[in-house]
């Protein structure tokens, strides 16, 4: 392996690595705009010019492969002069309106100006080349041509990743501008990734635009629940409100990208339609009930039913929207009661999918159900048939919108007792005897197992609304009432119990799952 010296530090790197990668490995920042690890090397921004001993002129760190004994200077006078020059060039035709630019706070032009430039402008403001502003170029993306630094990340993404080439660079010299190719709009299923990789404010997300300054936002590592791929994401949130999802790099799952549908699913996790209060059916209507009282009532009813008619008179349905921890506790609950357990994983017929990231299975944890041995076949049908024959007295639905997913309607109408654990106002509520509101995956800790059998952790970004609890906690509380044993204190404890159980999850460590996950045991 070659050894390179960067700013006096000797760094051993893999053969074939570039100077910018070697520096990154050592925690040395080499500023750059056009270089992105998920795209081909363009070498056009010239921000990463560095001095390399014995080279006749400055070299771009992004395209210069490390050779043994190479000596690189990223802080030398030659390098810093070039960095200041590139920034000055970039700024002479760029609007100086950071206070009103939506990218302020995460703009590399702004950040690098503070870190590497800090010189007064030598160009009169009136002399700038003026380009167009705020052009909607697709459902998700807005283009501000005047802010573009022509790094070509967006065009390379559309050429190399989606192979759709909606954007091109037109005109020449300082009149060059990004624009739509004739007759096209930016409407491929991954279009908003160009916003993530735009280093400045040229491409912005129409949903997020002007919604928040990023420095006010907190970021939480999570996993997209939009489909079985489980793209790694960061949830941006503030004071309990989710503002956006952005992809988080995981080369084993989603590289650097995510789909637009997954990204947009952020906006469906909150707002009106969320269940916020535990409810017990009164004479005619639901009666808001304290959480502990509601859990106690449901648990006692299930125990009483099991004692009276046997556990087989109780059914529990857990869906592939549930986490591994929720599935585990649902299994424990079924075991403690002797109840029947069924899993459900249904996606819309003909659901969009492709050969890249988007899966036809729109559930994040179908593999988790399978890995825990939950019946995904005729289980739900068998339960509803049993209900129709009067053999089933109580049913517990865990994130299971069975009316939307099955033909269980008539059975629910005649069912004596239905407990619903869900996040939103699902249709089953009309038949429910008890409702326990639970949080979405953005409001809970837990794990999903993606289509390829990779177990991935998500973390609570925001609190569940009102009285809602994380799903694992609701099930743990219910299990405690049924068994009389203490409930597990954390989702990590639940996962540890799942791993200790043996089977597919054996050997997995909850802490070690962060932040890129681990594959299930084969």
């Amino acid at each position: 392996m070659p050894t390179v010296e960067i700013d006096g530090r000797k760094i051993e790197v893999e053969d074939g690595r570039t100077v910018i990668e070697a520096a990154d490995q050592a925690g040395i920042e080499i500023p750059h705009y056009c270089w992105h690890p998920g795209l081909s090397i363009s070498g056009n921004c010239r921000m990463c010019l560095v001095e390399i001993e014995k080279a006749p002129k400055l070299q771009i760190a992004c395209n210069t492969r490390v050779t043994d004994g190479m000596v690189v200077h990223t802080k030398s006078e030659k390098t810093t002069t070039a960095q200041k020059a590139v920034l000055e060039f970039l700024l002479i035709n760029h609007p100086i309106d950071c206070p009103v630019c939506d990218q302020a706070g995460e703009c590399k032009l702004q950040e690098y100006y503070m870190d590497y430039d800090r010189q007064r402008s030598r160009v009169p403001l009136g002399n700038k080349v003026k380009k167009s502003k705020a052009i909607p170029i697709g459902k998700h993306v807005m283009l501000d041509q005047e802010r573009c630094v022509l790094c070509a990340r967006c065009t390379r993404f559309l050429d190399e990743v989606t192979h759709t080439s909606e954007l091109g660079i037109f005109q020449r010299g300082d009149h060059s501008e990004i624009d739509l190719a004739p007759g096209k709009t930016l409407d491929n299923p991954y279009s908003a990734n160009v916003v993530d990789i735009c280093p400045v404010g040229a491409l912005t997300n129409r949903d997020f635009r002007f919604q928040a300054r990023v420095w006010y936002l907190e970021r939480t590592e999570s996993v997209c629940g939009g489909c079985a791929n489980g793209c790694n994401i960061e949830i941006y949130h503030r004071e309990g409100r989710i503002f956006r999802f952005q992809p988080r790099a995981n080369m084993a799952v989603n590289d650097y990208w995510m789909c637009d549908a997954g990204r947009s699913s952020a906006y469906g996790l909150q707002g009106e339609g969320r269940l916020q209060q535990a409810l017990l059916r009164g004479e005619e209507a639901f009666v808001p009930t304290l959480w502990a009282d509601a859990v106690d009532a449901v648990g006692r009813r299930l125990v009483e039913t099991a004692d009276r008619r046997g556990g087989q008179a109780i059914g529990i349905v857990v869906s592939a929207q549930a986490s591994n921890e929720e599935i585990f506790l649902a299994r424990r609950l079924a075991g403690a009661l002797g109840a029947r357990l069924a899993g459900v994983s249904v996606s819309p017929a003909g659901a969009y999918h492709d050969a890249f990231l988007i899966k036809a299975d729109k559930n994040p944890n179908t593999q988790g159900l399978r890995a825990q041995g939950v019946d995904l076949g005729a289980g739900v049908g068998a339960l509803t048939e049993a209900a129709g024959r009067g053999e089933l007295e109580a049913l517990v639905l865990v994130r299971s919108d069975v009316l939307a997913e099955t033909t269980a309607g008539p059975a629910l109408e005649t069912l004596p007792y239905l407990a619903v654990l869900d996040s939103g106002h699902v249709a089953e509520l009309q038949y429910a005897s008890a409702v326990l509101p639970i949080g979405t995956y953005a409001e809970s800790d837990g794990t999903f197992t993606n289509h390829a059998g990779r177990v991935q952790r998500f973390q609570r970004a925001v609190a569940a609304p009102g009285e809602a609890r994380p799903g694992w906690q609701a099930l743990a509380d219910l299990l405690a009432v049924v068994t009389g044993a203490p409930a597990p204190a954390t989702a990590a404890d639940v996962f540890a119990a799942l791993a200790a159980e043996g089977g597919a999850f054996a050997g997995l460590d909850h802490a070690a799952l962060a932040s890129s996950g681990q594959p299930l045991r084969a």
Partner: protein, 434 residues
């Protein structure tokens, strides 16, 4: 050297016709190459001749051919750079328009030497006449068995295609040319990899200038020693000099490499007309640093011109008499490079426009006392910092103009206008880009 080879068309009327060309020894070099030499021997011969590229960079041609991989399963391509676009340069055009078979013969021999079976001539789109002449010549060559399958019974096959560019200076940069030939925007490629290994369509490719290729048949017929005997040892051979501007007889001159610049201006071109005196000369096309009148005792070969502080480049000699405002001349050149910058690299994209704006201000009002230093600083920040040499091409003339004629720049700033062209209407700055 009095004999004209590259410019034989001046002595033989109708040489563009293959019949005339054959009557005067046409395609003998090709037959000789097939009959007497193995491909590698031709590569060695060109190496031994010290032929250096005539497109501007002056890279040793044989060495470039030698960079091709010895074993490859991919096709090898030859791309002839006929995108002659440098202001002040118009030599390749004469070869293509008047003696196209000389070029084709050079292409055939070069292709044979490098094991290439498809050659492209990338011609500047505006040169429609040359394009038509080349196609006519190619059809003639196919009809006579000079191109196509089994040329002259040698077993060697070659097809030649002429491709018209749309008229962008950057298409003359060898990797920009390849991008354009592939149907893409002509952004120069970062190197490595180099075209010899990853060129056209990802295949090994040699890019040579028209004049360079035209030298090859003469080297084959007369030998490397003969070629090397003309001019200086390290950059020998006949050379086409394009002389424009304030001389009595502007035009294309075939002279030995190393002919003094003073001799070219005063002997061959008849000196400065209208009783005026020489003020400055750009020796190698618009992108090269200017010489003052007292710097013209320089042999016009690659190394000598470089030693004197400029470059031979494409040998586009641009002569300016004392009527020329050097700020205006510098502005005009900057306007060109601003217009032609492809916009890929930050320093060139933004720097060329900035240079033009500062020069526009000096020439037409709005200049500042600090502008001379500002121009030097901008140019310095551009040079050497981009993928291709266009930023250098834009910066080098500015640096030379400001350095050698600084008083004129300062005078413009002090007066707030041009003292030599006080009534000149301001030119609009370049905005439209085609």
């Amino acid at each position: 050297m009095t004999e004209r080879l590259l410019m034989r068309c001046r002595d033989i009327p109708g040489l563009r016709s293959i019949d005339t060309y054959l009557q005067h020894g046409g395609y003998e070099a090709t037959r000789t190459a097939f009959a007497k030499y193995q491909p590698q021997e031709l590569v060695e011969m060109v190496k031994a001749s010290n032929l250096r590229g005539r497109g501007g960079a002056g890279f040793p041609t044989g060495m470039k051919w030698g960079f091709l991989p010895k074993q490859t399963e991919k096709p090898v391509y030859l791309a002839v750079n006929a995108d002659e676009s440098e202001p002040g340069t118009f030599k390749d055009r004469v070869i293509m328009e008047e003696d196209p078979h000389q070029l084709l013969e050079g292409i055939i021999i070069t292709a044979y030497a490098i094991n290439c079976h498809t050659a492209y001539i990338y011609i500047r789109g505006e040169m429609k006449y040359a394009y038509d002449v080349l196609w006519e010549a190619i059809h003639e060559a196919y009809a006579k068995g000079c191109l196509g399958k089994n040329i002259f019974g040698s077993g060697f096959d070659l097809d030649v295609v002429v491709h018209r560019g749309a008229g962008a200076y950057i298409c003359g940069e060898e990797t920009g040319l390849l991008e354009s030939l592939e149907g893409k925007r002509a952004y120069p490629r970062i190197k490595p990899p180099f075209p010899a290994t990853h060129g056209l369509f990802g295949c090994p490719t040699i890019v040579n200038n028209v004049e360079t290729i035209a030298c090859v048949p003469h080297i084959v017929l007369r030998g490397a020693d003969w070629f090397r005997s003309i001019g200086p040892e390290k950059s020998p051979g006949p050379k086409l000099f394009c002389v424009s501007g304030h001389v009595v007889r502007p035009g294309v001159y075939e002279l030995p490499m190393g002919t003094p610049l003073r001799e070219i201006i005063y002997d061959h071109c008849g000196g400065i007309p209208n009783g005026r005196v020489l003020k400055g000369v750009i020796p190698g096309g618009a992108s090269m640093p200017i010489f003052t009148a007292d710097e013209i005792d320089v042999p016009m070969d690659m190394d000598s011109v470089q030693k004197a502080g400029s470059f031979l480049g494409s040998a586009g000699v641009m002569v300016m008499d004392d009527s020329v405002c050097m700020v205006w001349a510098c502005y005009v050149l900057s306007k060109f490079f601003h217009h032609e910058s492809c916009g890929q690299c930050t320093p060139c994209r933004e720097g060329t426009g900035w240079l033009e704006k500062v020069l526009h201000g000096l020439e037409y009002g709005g200049g500042h006392a600090s502008d001379a230093d500002l121009l030097l600083n901008i140019a310095g920040n551009m040079m050497g910092n981009t993928i291709c040499a266009l930023a250098d091409a834009a910066a080098m003339p500015v640096r030379a103009f400001v350095t050698k004629f600084r008083s004129e720049f300062e005078q413009h700033a002090a007066l707030g206008r041009c003292p030599m062209r006080p009534d000149a209407a301001p030119e609009p700055r370049a905005h439209a880009h085609g």
